[in-house]
Symmetry: C2
Subunit: 622 residues, 2 copies
């Protein structure tokens, strides 16, 4: 099915009167989300029967389960045992079942994140601080109920549209923040091996964690090399997690010195029961009204967190580099998230939401990459130099197995893990592996991050940088100024996360969006922002759910300026319709004004095109 989502009926452009008010037309986004995607439901099942879906299932199962367990251990430690392994597995399984069957975009994997762990134990710290640690179950239940209500409101009143204003400026900051939190959690978990285990067990854990990290990292890298036959390197990189997990779990059981070392392992639990002695349903009705209202602002903060976190995760799963053809549905999915918040709240499990670092992993593992041979001739600029032949491997994303099956199989796997026998298997795993998982996933979010990339670019000796690098047209001090804003945002967020004020960190992250829209265009030129920033969502298949692509403020500003300069109506086409109309992932801009400017713009576009191609292609050298 090849549908053009460019002129989707769900739009707010050109509307006037009451029809242009989002709140006046509830359920409009949700309705179109479902209507747009429903025709694909059967193909979402049918398209799931292939090898890629299987490989994707294995990979996402491990990448979802292992950090979830790790965060769960973290939460258990910090809430004096209220949230345990079973709650974590339950939450992950619940989310996986609901979202695999009912979501519009089943590529977005929902589960336990580090931020909900942080949120939950900060609320616990506050409750203990106030001397009411015993009402924590009811309090957190009410926080969840409030959050559910605000989720539903956001979905019903079409507020997810505002996600289209998110650019790489804030989503990169968020990605870096999450990556750093993961690394910190990895180290904290390692420190815990010393505190609750033994000195030797602690050091052995450090060794295992580092080796696990190196193993997964190395195996995943295999896919981009030209070593072995294509299917061998694909197997190695597809199953990096299970290979490393089985190997290092086995390693930790080698008889002799290693076996004798006192390693902490995943605790034994009784299948299907809450960790503390309680029934699954929390008696949330037994809470003082005062505390119900204390829960309200916390619910708002949680909504703010999930609004950003879940939707950015969803954008990550549908990022530019994946050739997706099936439409997104932000409103409907956010409504569903409200439902899991509600259920999760009243049964006392940690609330699942979109996993940021893992989001692209799922889609990536479902993407069929093709190795393509590019032969080229390289000619040295010196006149007498010989012409060298070049064979290069380019990895091209050919198609994505867009389906619900991998997500659903993962759900079955999680439910399976909750049963007695598999809990015993879990118990054989050293907790050090989770530290390794934190490092792998966290580092994945840091390594390729745009902020880091810009920072590295600043440190590079420019003369060795290829001439088609668009950043060469900017002064390095300007790039430094740009990432300084991001680094400040990340720094504040990380810092506040270590304190009892951690609940406030979503405010900082979200405040980067107005900063980008209101202030940055006054500091940076249109060209600078064009090179350094881009909307995080830019495929029509994704934007359709959010009412199409907005005009960027710097473009608008530049247009207004030019219009003011040029005065009269030499160019009448500079209307408000500057939405991206090409599917290639580039922003179209209204180029008006002098010939000079037009040439300039054409050149820029060329640079952008070359740069924009890069994320899709991973190059392996001979």
């Amino acid at each position: 099915m090849s549908v053009d989502f460019r002129n989707d009926p769900y739009t707010w452009e050109g509307l006037t009167g009451w029809k242009s008010y989002r709140m006046a037309r509830p359920f409009r986004g949700m309705y179109w989300d479902v209507r747009r995607r429903l025709p694909y439901y059967w193909s979402d099942i049918k398209d799931g029967f292939n090898y890629r879906t299987f490989a994707g299932t294995v990979r996402i199962f491990f990448v979802n389960l292992l950090p979830a367990l790790a965060f769960q251990l973290d939460m258990e430690r910090n809430t004096d045992g209220y949230f345990g392994i079973n709650e974590g597995l339950f939450a992950s399984a619940l989310a996986a079942v609901v979202f695999s069957l009912l979501s519009v975009q089943p590529l977005t994997v929902v589960g336990i994140t580090g931020l909900i762990s942080l949120f939950n134990y900060t609320v616990y710290d506050i409750a203990v601080d106030q001397g009411v640690g015993d009402i924590y179950p009811q309090l957190i239940a009410w926080v969840s109920i409030w959050a559910a209500i605000f989720h539903w409101m956001s979905a019903v009143f079409n507020w997810c549209d505002y996600m289209r204003y998110i650019t790489d400026f804030s989503s990169n900051s968020f990605g870096l923040y999450v990556g750093i939190i993961y690394m910190i959690k990895g180290v904290e978990e390692l420190v815990d091996q010393f505190n609750n285990g033994s000195l030797s067990g602690g050091y052995l854990s450090v060794v295992i964690a580092l080796c696990y990290w190196a193993t997964v990292y190395g195996l995943e890298l295999m896919g981009s090399t030209i070593m072995f036959r294509p299917y061998i390197r694909k197997l190695l990189s597809d199953y990096a997690y299970p290979i490393a997990t089985i190997f290092w779990t086995g390693f930790s059981h080698i008889p002799g010195r290693i076996k004798d070392t006192d390693l902490l392992r995943v605790p034994h639990t009784r299948a299907f029961y809450p960790t503390v002695d309680r029934s699954w349903l929390v008696d949330f009705w037994n809470l003082d009204v005062k505390w119900v209202f204390v829960a309200l602002p916390m619910g708002i903060l949680l909504t703010l967190l999930f609004y950003y976190d879940h939707n950015v995760s969803s954008l990550g799963a549908q990022a530019k580099q994946f050739p997706l053809t099936k439409p997104a549905g932000f409103h409907w999915d956010f409504f569903l998230l409200g439902c899991t918040c509600f259920i999760g709240g009243i049964i006392g499990i940690p609330l699942p939401n979109g996993l940021v670092p893992q989001a692209p992993v799922h889609t990536d593992s479902l993407t069929e990459y093709k190795d393509r041979l590019v032969t080229s001739k390289e000619t040295d600029d010196k006149p007498d130099a010989p012409q060298l032949g070049h064979n290069k491997k380019i990895i091209v994303a050919d198609n994505v197995a867009e389906q619900r099956v991998s997500h659903f199989l993962m759900a079955l796997g999680l439910i399976g893990t909750m049963t007695g026998p598999l809990l015993v298997v879990l118990h054989t795993m050293p907790r050090a592996l989770f530290c390794g998982v934190f490092f792998v996933v966290g580092w994945g979010s840091i390594e390729g991050n745009g902020i880091i990339d810009n920072a590295i670019y600043i440190c590079k000796e420019t003369r060795f940088v290829s001439p088609q690098e668009p950043r060469r047209s900017l002064r390095k001090s300007r790039i430094a100024l740009y990432i300084m804003f991001q680094i400040l945002g990340v720094g504040f967020s990380v810092a506040i996360s270590q304190t009892i004020g951690a609940l406030g960190f979503p405010v900082i992250i979200v405040s980067l969006i107005p900063l980008r829209w209101a202030i940055l265009p006054r500091i940076f030129t249109e060209h600078e922002l064009l090179v350094l920033d881009a909307p995080t969502a830019d495929a029509d298949v994704v934007l359709a759910s959010m009412g199409g692509q907005p005009e960027l403020p710097e473009v608008k500003l530049a247009r207004q300026k030019r219009e003011a300069q040029d005065g009269d109506g030499e160019q009448g086409d500079a209307s408000g319709t500057s939405f991206a109309s090409n599917a290639s992932g580039l922003r179209s801009r209204e180029v008006v004004g002098s010939k000079d400017e037009q040439e300039d713009a054409r050149e820029k576009e060329q640079l952008e095109a070359q740069r924009g191609v890069e994320p899709t292609l991973r190059t392996g050298h001979a």
Copy 2:
């Protein structure tokens, strides 16, 4: 001074009668070695006053000292304390003073290797086995005295000439063997941290060793990137060892958990005294004549080991990729080595000889590399593809600070280290660092090894390999067969090194040379050997000391075959003079026969030229 060493008077070609017998003309090689180099003595001092010499001194000091100490600890453990830290420092300092002042080629650094450690404790094992462990000092002294005598004989009778027959076939095998031994020693040393330390200390040692390895490796890699300004990345890579050593020594003293962990450190010793209670001079005259003659074959084996090890190390220090201008002197230097053997023997210190993995490190750190920008245009073979500009950094070896000063300063450093205060500083170092050093140095010898490179090439998907790769013209099964010979040699050597038969391993390594000259040319074609193998020494400045370059057997064979085919005198120029006459590092071959063959040969030479360039140039990508 620009001297042409192509027509050096020291040659045995074209001689007849008694004049052509090497043994009939003793001292001829030594005489010419000195005569050739003596004019440079003053410049060897003068050329030492520059930054590179200083950087080289620091680097080679660490790379010499740290493994020497590590091997010393290994030897101490395995000889029940006969050889200790002071003996090791004394031996290193003695060798450094003698070779920095008196050698013809001061680039070749002489010190304690893993192989002498292996040799010494195998002799000890044999003595203990025979129930005469108490005569070990006298026995090993006599082994050394015999070795000294055979060294002198080799030098006097010009036998070092035969080093010119060493090709990459055996020197790569030896390099790999040494690299593996280093890695094994690193692991053994780590295991010892568990055996003689504590469990937690052992695991912490593993962490420190791995991190030390990664630190040095990463810092040394910095030099080939385009990060930071050139002098910053040069500083980081020049001082990788001291930076890592100071950092991780400091790390191991962090108060708290790490400081409380029971780490093994370098033992305290009293300055300038032998480790066991004895005078420096060994009473070698108090040995039963029977044992004196038992020492004789051991002395021969030791000579065989040093003949190969020292000279290959010397070739490594003067390898193809370094633009050297001052001549080598194998005969004279081997004579000197006999002297250090004699002195070392009678005072009971481990015998120093050329360090194989460290050999190129010294010259490398003395080489002034220049970053050169190469701009080129890359044109995709597809007709519509855009032309991409390419900026590439190429590192070119500009010149080498060929001098004696760095070697001499290192000697002073070693003498300084023998004094009381610095022995105390040494004591602060965790022994885990030595494991890290083993890993760095051993891995350095494995990573770039030709055998590994060929093995990787076999695993590669050929279609992505650049068309100018000469190995593309060979069948992969032939390359596999070729490296199989090498791997067998390495495998046997490593295996025998773990047994009491370890004394015999030099025989295996040395036997690779006749294998290469007598058998390989009958299995592989001239073209195959041309692509896969090359003489280890091929610069005239090096070959002059060995009587020039010999004709390779496969070339000779192919020539004889063609001559037999062609019958009469169509080509009279196919005489015996097929020595390389170009300084570019390529073997010239007598190309005779049909036009087809000539074209073929021209093409091959072109391929070789492009390939031959690679080792000199290290490329950094943007």
